[in-house]
Amino acid sequence: MLELSNIDAGYGGFQALFGISMSVKAGEAVAVIGSNGAGKTTLLRVISGLLPATAGAMTMESTSLRDTAPHKIIETGIAHVPEGRRLFPRLSVENNLKIGGYIPAARAKFDERLAFVFELFPRLKERRAQLAGTLSGGEQQMCAIGRALMSGPKLVLLDEPSMGLAPVIVAQVFDLVRRIRQEGYTVLIVEQNVRQVLKIADRAYLLEVGRIKASGPSQELLASDEIRKAYMGI
């Protein structure tokens, strides 16, 4: 579904990603793990067009993403739940969801998808008229994921969904991710919470200072001594 080959990217004179090649197949949940500053967030920003790649090729179901304007990438079926959730704090929950379904193809299906998101996250239905900025952290994450689903994506990019949340809420958030997987969405998730994310992902890539250092099925990575030492503190 998503293919990256030899992608370079950076900010100004600083190169953050070096020759990244990876793929995500339909129906998979793929994790990108690594420490702070490894380039995980940059990778997602490059895929969704917020940051232009400087070299390499990137396709979503054979559409070249490097040739697609940033605001058109969502129309290829990629929805990005950004780091820190980034809800519109002074819009209601319902309007946040509505803006998630802004693209023309999504507008006709607004009612249907809103009902689906409310079924998936009943809490959002209770809070639909409330300003998004007044939600709790876990509810905000539900709203951010719901907003992404409103566009009718095939692939959902999740950037550190557990960031800044209390441990008990983190468990709930991983549960949310598991649920959207069960609904048939393909997921590419970036996390520092390595142990948890490897439990829900099929495969993972390990990113270190902008390069892919290892990749493979989650079980293998979970069993690797190197990864256990470096990222799980065991």
């Binding site: 917020l50 304007a69 969502i74 509505k98």
Partner: protein, 289 residues
């Protein structure tokens, strides 16, 4: 000093209310532009002036007033879009001072161009709708019409901003610009729509002002500073704040003017403004610094 709680005092308060409608409409346009595009159109009142001339010539050319007014609204909406494309877009990433200077430059350009093209004499449409007398108080019809139309226009804009996809995107963009592409929103398109609406509001204000005021190239100087003061007092970018501030400032002008002299009304309003800004630099309803 002649300030008693008599019928003239009440008349001044009500006239202040009527004036506030127009000022609120103008402040709304400027706040909308600033909130979405993050640039202050220093030349906003000059766009109103262009609209007033457009309406004047359309009316004198034989168009009925309503048609001339629609022409003025369309003209200034177009002027807003052109202003954005030619002047604002190239400086979107520049320092705020450069953005102020460049729109300030447009202000002087428009004034000079209007002086050269239309001359310095005062023009008016010759429409003076008269006044209504009520319980010994007098209110001009044009002010009442202005107030009513301004309120309806603001209500329609509010409905647009809260019900339509583009309206919600306009509000969203002022809250988090950077992630708009992730929503599939083309920022350039939203900027153009906003510039057109901001211009259209200035055109509507022009259509209302030709009923009350003479047209001359410097009329922007009479309203421009007032509108900025209202926007800053309410909190630049806050549409509700601007609306409320318009009423506060209008009352200072109208009541102060009635109690002392018109000039004193303005002086008191600006003094109040300065005191508030010392205490609350972000304005009465401003969230951001």
């Amino acid at each position: 000093m002649d300030c008693q709680l008599d019928i003239y005092f009440l008349e001044a308060i009500l006239n202040g209310l009527l004036l506030a409608g127009l000022l609120a409409l103008l402040a709304l346009g400027l706040n909308l532009i600033f909130g979405v595009i993050d640039v202050v159109w220093i030349c906003y009142a000059e766009l109103v002036m262009i609209g007033m001339y457009g309406i004047h010539y359309a009316y004198k050319g034989g168009a009925p007033f309503l048609l001339a007014a629609l022409f003025g609204i369309a003209l200034v909406a177009l002027a807003g879009i052109v202003l954005h494309q030619l002047v604002i877009r190239p400086v979107l990433e520049s320092a705020p001072i450069n953005q102020l200077l460049v729109t300030g430059g447009v202000l002087f350009f428009l004034q000079a161009a209007a002086t050269m093209t239309f001359g310095i004499d005062f023009k008016n449409l010759g429409l003076r709708p008269g006044s209504v007398l009520f319980a010994d108080m007098s209110f001009s019809y044009s002010r009442i019409i202005t107030f009513g139309v301004a309120l309806v226009a603001m209500l329609l804009l509010w409905l647009f901003l809260s019900r339509t996809y583009i309206g919600i995107a306009i509000r969203a963009i002022s809250q988090d610009r950077a992630i708009m592409p992730l929503m599939g929103v083309d920022q350039r398109r939203i900027y153009l729509v906003t510039s057109g609406i901001g211009g259209g509001l200035a055109g509507l204000a022009a259509a209302l002002m030709v009923l009350q005021y003479d047209i001359y190239p410097q009329i922007g100087l009479q309203f421009g500073p007032l509108i900025f003061m209202i926007c800053v007092l309410g909190g630049l970018g806050s549409m509700i704040g601007g609306f409320i501030a318009a009423f506060i400032i209008s009352e200072f002008i109208a009541v102060g003017g009635s109690c002392f002299a018109t000039e004193w009304g303005y002086a008191i309003a600006f003094l109040f403004f300065m005191v508030v800004i010392f205490i609350r630099p972000q304005g009465l309803f401003g969230g951001r610094s």
